[in-house]
């Protein structure tokens, strides 16, 4: 049901304003008339917004998202520290956050440096692996070794040019000739290693530099070292650096687990404080008096008066009034249902917010959704598995959405078992084979027609109920055309039903005149309420009723597939392959049954039922309240 709302108008002294707003925040039931406007905030709010941004930035840098771990203790500790927000407090928070941010950035850049080093060392070692033997032989000879990135000229040409230059200096050619070896790196670049006598080192360097070659250098701290000395040190570093990275990661995790909830709590409180300041700024002030307007659920009025009256006795004036008809569009909608049906409010979250004067269909969805989906599944075995799944999901208290889905599944499971008993199905015909299970009503895989008639009757009742709800809705909101059209539809459907009964001979033929009267009256109301469109909708409602035959159709396919799965064992025998195939088909059928029944049952609610009366355009009830970490979603 939709909670009744009352308008609250509070007037108090400007000097009490921060305390009054804090109390309203604690109460958490006031839906303000308008969201606090983003006016130019006072200096404090602006500073707090910067701090909130910093806190969120730190949480993102910490990769922390476990909002559920923010304990009430953490929040209370910080709340008492933040009760008075002034310049020194803001400055001290800013300093702490900045210092934390610097340490975190240092840690992260240290890790990035180490990762970079690992990559450079690996790449260098990969390149050097092409020159292993060459380096060993030439270092043993005591020659000068250098490595070069070759860009355009081929290594052989470069070596020829170097030899020519060496001959110019040493015409007799007494010195040993130049040696070289070239290779392509994994990146596709050519690298050449050159070995010459130390005295011709300058000539070799000059030739390679003139030909646009760049020296290949060892990475970072190894630059300038001899290759044979650097290689073992690089291999050692390759073993050592991952250990250092792991240590940084461990520290990072420790920091995240320790500081994430604390910064999260700080973020909550800063957000709350900013909201309070914005509301203070947005409140209407005249001289020493300020005013706040909003909506409060009627069932919270007593508690509201008790707390506000107790805290600010004689210093606040609170006036209450019922919403006026012209305000109905602005009144927020808050739902309140019995705990059994509350999970079914989930269905309304996919629809526009229900209007304040609308009818809450949660209970009816809670009755019909599991009934229809259970009838489609209609198998004791599948029902038991769904029940187990439902209990597991219901246990996830920290994930409200999954817990709600679990509750919905438990209703579906109960109806599946009920219909399974009616149709005598336990994993298809396995129950019949093993324990001679007999259907209480009928075997739907053999007798289709009665199930089809039953589902269409169910549809008739459901659609009719939708029209009745629509009529009530029209009367409540004073829309004459709506209730006339819905009533017209009801009469036309009643006429159709009575005509069928008379034709079947279950009622005397003399009552046919009553059928005709109902039809004429219904058509007249339809024309008066919705004109030609009303007549067309009336025809559409017959299609809506026939649409419920999907319950029988999907149920039939599910029952036959389950029988096929079990009969596989007949064909392949009680062997591993036979049992495996049977289980696989049962699993497929189970998944199809659960998803198909859920989707089709939801569709029947959304299209065939809610379409008759549901009116959106409402405003979601969003009370001005303290943040709840377990319900927090990062914006």
């Amino acid at each position: 049901m939709i909670r009744n709302m009352v308008n609250m108008n509070l007037m108090g002294l400007v000097s009490d304003r921060p305390l009054i707003i804090e109390s309203l925040h604690d109460l958490g039931v006031l839906h303000l008339h308008e969201e606090p406007a983003e006016i130019v905030p006072p200096e404090t709010a602006s500073d707090l917004k910067i701090l909130r941004g910093k806190a969120l930035g730190l949480l993102e840098a910490l990769e922390w998202t476990d909002w559920g771990s923010v304990s009430a203790k953490n929040i209370e500790e910080k709340r008492s520290a933040l009760s008075l927000v002034n310049g020194p407090v803001i400055e001290s928070i800013r300093e702490s956050l900045d210092s934390f941010s610097t340490r975190l950035t240092d840690q992260k850049s240290q890790k990035a440096d180490l990762e970079g080093q690992i990559n450079s060392i690996k790449s260098a070692l990969r390149t050097l692996s092409h020159f292993g033997t060459f380096l060993k032989e030439n270092l043993a000879k005591g020659s000068d070794l250098s490595l070069w990135w070759i860009q355009r000229t081929s290594p052989a040409d470069l070596v020829a040019k170097t030899q020519k230059k060496i001959r110019e200096k040493d015409p007799l050619g007494l010195s040993e000739t130049i040696n070289y070896h070239s290779a392509l790196t994994s990146g596709g670049e050519a690298v050449a290693a050159i070995s010459v006598n130390h005295e011709f080192r300058g000539e070799a360097k000059a030739v390679f530099t003139e030909n646009d070659c760049l020296p290949w250098l060892l990475p970072g701290e190894f630059e300038g070292m001899r290759v044979d000395e650097a290689m073992p040190m690089m291999e050692h570093a390759l073993r050592d650096i991952p250990r250092r990275i792991e240590e940084i990661d461990r520290n990072f995790m420790k920091t995240r687990n320790l500081w994430g909830p604390k910064i999260g709590a700080l973020y909550f409180l800063l957000d709350e404080k900013i909201e309070e300041i914005m509301i203070e700024m947005g409140s209407e002030t005249t001289g020493e008096i300020f005013r706040i307007d909003g909506w409060v659920p009627l069932d919270e009025k007593k508690r509201f008066m008790g707390i506000m009256g107790g805290h600010f006795k004689g210093r606040v004036l609170i006036r209450w009034r019922e919403p006026l008809p012209e305000e109905w569009g602005k009144v927020p909608t808050a739902l309140k249902n019995h705990s059994y049906f509350r999970p079914f409010e989930l269905f309304l979250k996919l629809m526009p917010v229900i209007s304040y004067r609308g009818l809450d269909p949660t209970v009816l969805i809670g009755v019909f959704f599991p009934l229809f989906s259970g009838c489609m599944i209609g198998d004791i075995g599948y029902g038991i598995i769904i029940l187990a799944l439902a209990l597991w999901l219901k246990g996830m208290k920290n994930r409200p959405l999954l817990s709600d889905v679990g509750s919905i599944f438990s209703f579906t499971a109960a109806w599946s078992i009920f219909w399974g008993v009616a149709f005598g199905e336990f994993f298809g015909d396995l129950g019949h084979r093993l324990f001679h299970l007999q259907p209480v009503w009928l075997e739907r895989s053999q007798t289709v027609l009665p199930v089809m008639v039953f589902t269409v009757s169910l549809g008739f009742a459901h659609v009719l109920l939708g029209f009745v709800m629509g009529m009530i809705q029209g009367i409540r909101t004073g829309h004459r055309r709506i209730w006339m059209e819905r009533l017209g539809n009801i009469l036309v459907l009643a006429a159709l039903l009575s005509a069928m009964i008379v034709v079947k001979g279950w009622l005397p033929k003399q009552l046919f005149s009553m059928t005709a009267t109902l039809l004429v009256l219904g058509l007249a109301l339809l024309m008066a309420g919705g004109g030609m469109g009303g007549l067309v909708e009336s025809l559409g409602s017959i299609g809506n009723i026939l649409s419920y035959m999907r319950i029988a159709a999907i149920g039939l396919s599910s029952a036959i597939l389950a029988m096929v799965a079990t009969s596989i064992v007949d064909s392949l025998g009680v062997s591993f392959v036979g049992v495996f195939m049977a289980l696989t088909i049962h699993l497929l059928n189970f998944v199809l049954a659960v998803t198909g029944s859920g989707l089709h049952s939801a569709r029947l609610q959304y299209v065939e039922f809610l379409g008759k009366f549901y009116s959106g355009g409402g405003t979601q009830y969003k009370p001005f309240s303290r943040r709840k970490p377990e319900l927090w979603k990062k914006r």
Binding site: A553, L599, V607
Partner: protein, 72 residues
């Protein structure tokens, strides 16, 4: 022979609407996915629109069952 023709008629009664439904749902689905990406709050309406063409198959199924029960 007669039974085969009845079976074929029943199959066509379900098959042709099924192809039409698949075509309609594919078009609605692709457009709906784009809409939800831009406006997630329209998810409910899109699911409803996606489900509307299914009625064709259900009506086809009714015709198929009637064919089989009447003539087979």
């Amino acid at each position: 022979m007669e039974k085969a023709i009845i079976a074929l008629a029943a199959a066509l009664a379900v098959g042709i609407p099924a192809i039409a439904t698949a075509y309609a749902q594919a078009r609605i689905g692709s457009v709906g996915a784009g809409t939800i990406a831009e406006k997630p709050e329209t998810a409910g309406i899109i699911i409803i629109l996606e489900a509307i063409p299914e009625t064709m198959v259900i009506l086809g199924f009714v015709v198929a069952v009637m064919l089989i029960l009447q003539f087979a």
